[in-house]
Symmetry: C2
């Protein structure tokens, strides 16, 4: 039995399925949904990294908005104010992956569970409440509190500091390989939810374990 | 006539055409050249940003190597040691874009010209020498000297400090929109060589001017 005391979960793509964003993209721009949502997500990540490196932080909602503008422009799609609002709204209506409530319920019996995300605390708390996950995930830690995005160590440090635990007692769970690498470099035990079947990043900070859904995390923690 | 005193040029994609890398990719993995080189380049950039944010600098050659490993794995392509070496070698055999020697020759009559790149000084100087561009580009500034990659302000600051000029006297030229945004945020005048016809980044730090080749930079500077 692994001796972790707390587990921190990334939100987007890890607890919450961003596929519904692609569906709204397709509804707004038929035939372009997949490509628009892929470019939007890629640019959203890039802008979190670029703004952090430039020392020009803006919160995740603003970055998401700016990334959408670029992604649409790169496909020559014209965003009306209505479509723009409808697409951004999709991020406020994400659904958790099917196994999430059950896995969190089981893990909550043994571990302190928290969220650690680039999203703003308000955005994250609204999502958790909407799906009654706030009963399991006691605290929400946001990049917004330290005004720099993952994988900057200040973001990951929040959990260690707030929970008064040592790094080795904390596990971090994310579907984003680069996020797992960032947490591993910081010193947390890591689990990557590899929902899409993509290779591990080759940044030199290996994941401790990986699996296809969060049920595999349960299994790994029990061995 | 614009009153700039110095012009700093990005190297990869700006002075040197990285298309030859795609050609080697295609020769090594027929049918996959375009996709492999696209993924390799994307991952190379991501790793420069991620390592910089994590405070885990490694030089551009190592990052390029790590990015190649990921890109190949993501396409289920197996890299033999020979193919691996051959692909990395492609970065040491880049050709300048056709207009580069002529444009630099003209600009050198009026401005101090330097290189400001993520590449290592050794890598950059070898490329410049190989194509006799070192006669125009007096100094080479590398991210390697400050152990963090663009768009961190420390990288851009090197030119201002070494040339003892004020920021407003320095122009920065790059084919990478995010690099232009980083230099603009730092306070340099900027020109984007938009060789592919992609939109300006929407990071909130607009480019001063843009054009399809470096001849357009000449024209802009003469107006």
């Amino acid at each position: 039995m692994r001796t972790l005391k707390a587990l921190a979960f990334d939100a987007f793509g890890t607890l919450f399925d961003v596929q519904s964003v692609a569906e709204v993209c397709e509804a707004v721009f038929p035939g372009y949904g997949g490509e628009l949502s892929r470019r939007w997500r890629q640019k959203q990540l890039e802008y979190t990294w670029l703004r952090s490196l430039m020392g020009r932080y803006a919160n995740f909602e603003q970055v998401t908005d700016e990334a959408l503008r670029y992604a649409a422009a790169s496909l020559n799609l014209t965003l009306t104010p209505e479509n723009h609002a409808r697409l951004l709204q999709a991020y406020r209506a994400l659904r958790p992956f099917p196994e999430v409530p059950d896995v969190l319920r089981q893990l909550a019996q043994k571990y302190t569970l928290v969220v650690l995300s680039n999203g703003t605390a308000m955005q994250l708390q609204a999502l958790l409440k909407q799906h009654a996950l706030d009963r399991y995930l006691g605290q929400v830690f946001s990049a917004d509190a330290v005004r720099v995005f993952k994988p900057h160590p200040h973001v990951y440090a929040q959990v260690e500091v707030a929970l008064k635990l040592s790094r080795g007692d904390i596990g971090f769970v994310s579907a984003n390989g680069w996020d797992v690498a960032g947490a591993a470099a910081y010193g947390y035990w890591t689990f990557r939810v590899d929902r899409q079947g993509v290779p591990e990043e080759t940044l030199g900070f290996p994941e401790a374990a990986a699996g296809r859904t969060l049920y595999d995390l349960l299994a790994v923690l029990q061995t």
